[in-house]
């Protein structure tokens, strides 16, 4: 027996918690690390963009309308002579706020619904999953358009619309994880010692679903920004003169032949932001999914 113990300690590595293991795996993925740095930079811009911006976002200058990129105006100016660089900087906080608001609401609602459906099963499960099916039956953005058509245009309503259609994704994800965890030994054990349902759900099952939720959160963040800017582009989201990226781009289409950069830069901003969240999501999935490790 003594010998046995000796082998055990010999084999012990420096302590590897699931968390440190995930960090280690995440660090190995250059793309995801760069994406994370870019997102941190974006968050910084969201808070301080207005201070850094060389011009005020609504500073009209009719002597310099639709001017190409230059040292004075990095991204050029729009039809009112407003500095596009400053407007795009200022748009960062709108897009991030929309993504954050919509996905957080969707994730919280979806997680609770998924936990309830998976844990209690039966009629609760049927009702929740049927509602999810119906939400899935409306193709994403169409549902959002329908909701905006009911509630009226505006960013708040866009956030609500995007939150509604990201909810079922989280609900399904959490439900399937709950179903597997529900029958695991440690949940059975917790039940046997008399832990309450709420205790089991939030202390034993939810932590097991967290990796899935984190990955989905990051992926949904990207697609929500994309959807929200699409809605603004269609005229159903942000209204002028808000410097929302989709709206800036939509505005640029009137000057497509004479001033291409008015559409190029806002599009680039959307693309890079969404790309970062998607790359981060991919990186998180590879770092958190035990199935992928070899």
């Amino acid at each position: 027996m003594k010998k046995n113990k000796k082998i055990q300690t010999q084999n012990q590595d420096r302590i590897r918690t699931p968390f440190s293991e995930a960090v280690r795996k995440f660090k190995k993925q250059k793309n995801a690390v760069i994406a994370l740095c870019f997102i941190i930079f974006l968050i910084f811009l969201a808070f301080f963009g207005d201070i850094i911006a060389p011009y005020k976002i609504n500073e009209y200058d009719y002597s310099a309308i639709l001017q190409g990129p230059s040292l004075r105006h990095f991204f050029g100016t729009d039809e009112f002579g407003r500095d596009l660089f400053s407007r795009i900087l200022s748009g960062t906080k709108i897009s991030l706020a929309v993504g954050f608001g919509a996905v957080t609401v969707g994730a919280v609602c979806g997680t609770i619904l998924g936990l309830l459906a998976g844990y209690y099963g039966g009629i609760i499960d049927s009702i929740i999953m049927r509602i999810c099916d119906v939400l899935f039956a409306f193709p994403g953005i169409i549902l959002a358009i329908a909701i905006v058509a009911i509630l009226g245009s505006g960013m708040t309503n866009v956030v609500i619309a995007v939150a509604v259609f990201s909810t079922p994704t989280f609900a399904r994800l959490v439900r399937s994880r709950t179903l597997t965890l529900k029958n695991s030994v440690f949940v059975m054990a917790a039940k046997n010692i008399g832990v309450s349902d709420a205790g089991i759900l939030f202390r034993h099952i939810l932590p097991g679903a967290i990796p899935d939720i984190i990955v989905q959160y990051s992926m949904s963040f990207g697609s929500s920004i994309l959807t929200a800017s699409s809605l603004s582009f269609l005229g159903m989201g942000a209204q002028p003169p808000t410097p929302e990226w989709g709206l800036l781009l939509s505005n640029g289409r009137n000057y497509m032949t004479s001033a291409m950069y008015v559409t190029i830069f806002p599009g680039l901003a959307i693309f890079l932001t969404v790309l970062s969240f998607n790359l981060l999501g991919d990186g998180l999935r590879d770092a958190l999914d035990p199935k992928l490790s070899e």
Binding site: V134, I150, N278
Partner: protein, 306 residues
């Protein structure tokens, strides 16, 4: 298989009922007086009452519901407020265009996505995988309206090889189809890749290799066939994405389809039209997913032989 399909068809009935109910309630949950909304802001009280009478809004909700559903069954989708023509006529005039765009797009993006996915998946961890997946993740991150504009600027304005606004002939389909399909191809590529990677780990692939089968045959006969079972499901779900994307794409290119009709109707607050279009979009989605179930069953002998 018949039993499986029947089960699937029966399974969509509750969804259908809820969708129809939702669409029915749609106008009624708009804040304010629906009759006033339909009649317009400048309408007199008399006009509003006339509208209320015509739409049956003064009757109990259950009666309204029955009237609505029986109208649907007879192909009566109401009258457009914008054109004063039956909504069904408006929709059927544009339905073909959207279907054509969707079909062409789904075809090319599914083929491209699957090929890219197989290419990446079979070269896991090598430069091919890295390239393929970088392209794919960019593809899902691109705002489609931006791509649309870049294409117009490049192909129509600068190079002048394609018309700026699109008609429904093949030349007019090229740019909208690229715009719409990029993201879908990217999603299919990502999914195909991960499915291929999973299947390459399966024991039966090791068996196939142990038999001395050529690697090309292993990939296309053994890996590919099996991965398609799950990829088909994703392609079906992407159809929803495609319908949604068509709204943006059709607007960018002023393409005369259902998507641009929806936007026109929303801008005009043409509620009967919006209501019916949303219904049509979800019906298409439901039908496509039924077709996917059929395809799934055909590919999967375990279900086919049941």
């Amino acid at each position: 298989m018949l039993k499986y399909l029947l089960k699937r068809i029966v399974g969509t009935i509750p969804t259908l009922i809820i969708v129809v109910t939702f669409v029915f309630l749609f106008v009624r949950i708009i804040p304010g007086d629906p009759a006033r909304l339909v009649a317009g802001e400048q309408a007199t009280q008399q006009d509003v009452e006339a509208v209320r009478e015509r739409l049956g809004l003064n009757k109990p909700v259950t009666t309204q519901y029955i009237t609505y559903v029986s109208g649907l069954l007879h192909g009566d989708l109401g009258t457009s407020l914008r054109t004063k023509r039956p909504v069904l006529e408006e929709i059927s005039g544009r339905f073909g265009n959207t279907v054509r765009l969707a079909a062409v797009t789904l075809l090319w993006s599914a083929i491209a996505g699957v090929l890219f996915g197989v290419w990446s998946g079979t070269h896991r961890g090598k430069w091919q995988d890295y390239t393929g997946m970088t392209v794919a993740v960019s593809g899902i991150s691109l705002p489609s309206f931006w791509i649309g504009f870049l294409l117009i600027m490049l192909l129509a304005v600068k190079m002048k090889i394609l018309p700026t606004t699109s008609s429904s002939d093949w030349k007019g389909l090229i740019m909208p189809s690229i715009t719409l399909g990029l993201g879908i191809a990217a999603i299919i590529a990502r999914f195909t890749r991960s499915s291929i990677v999973e299947i390459l780990k399966e024991d039966y692939i090791r068996t196939a290799r142990a038999k001395g089968i050529r690697e090309k045959v292993v990939v296309w006969k053994h890996v590919f066939r099996n991965s398609m079972i799950s990829v088909v499901t994703v392609v079906g779900l992407q159809f929803g994405f495609l319908l949604g994307g068509s709204v943006v794409t059709e607007t960018v290119f002023a393409y005369p389809g259902l998507g641009s009709l929806l936007i026109e109707s929303v801008n005009y607050r043409d509620y009967p039209a919006i209501q019916s279009l949303i219904l049509i979009f979800s019906l298409q989605f439901i039908v496509i997913n039924l077709l996917v179930d059929v395809l799934y069953a055909v590919l999967n002998p375990e279900i086919k032989l049941q």
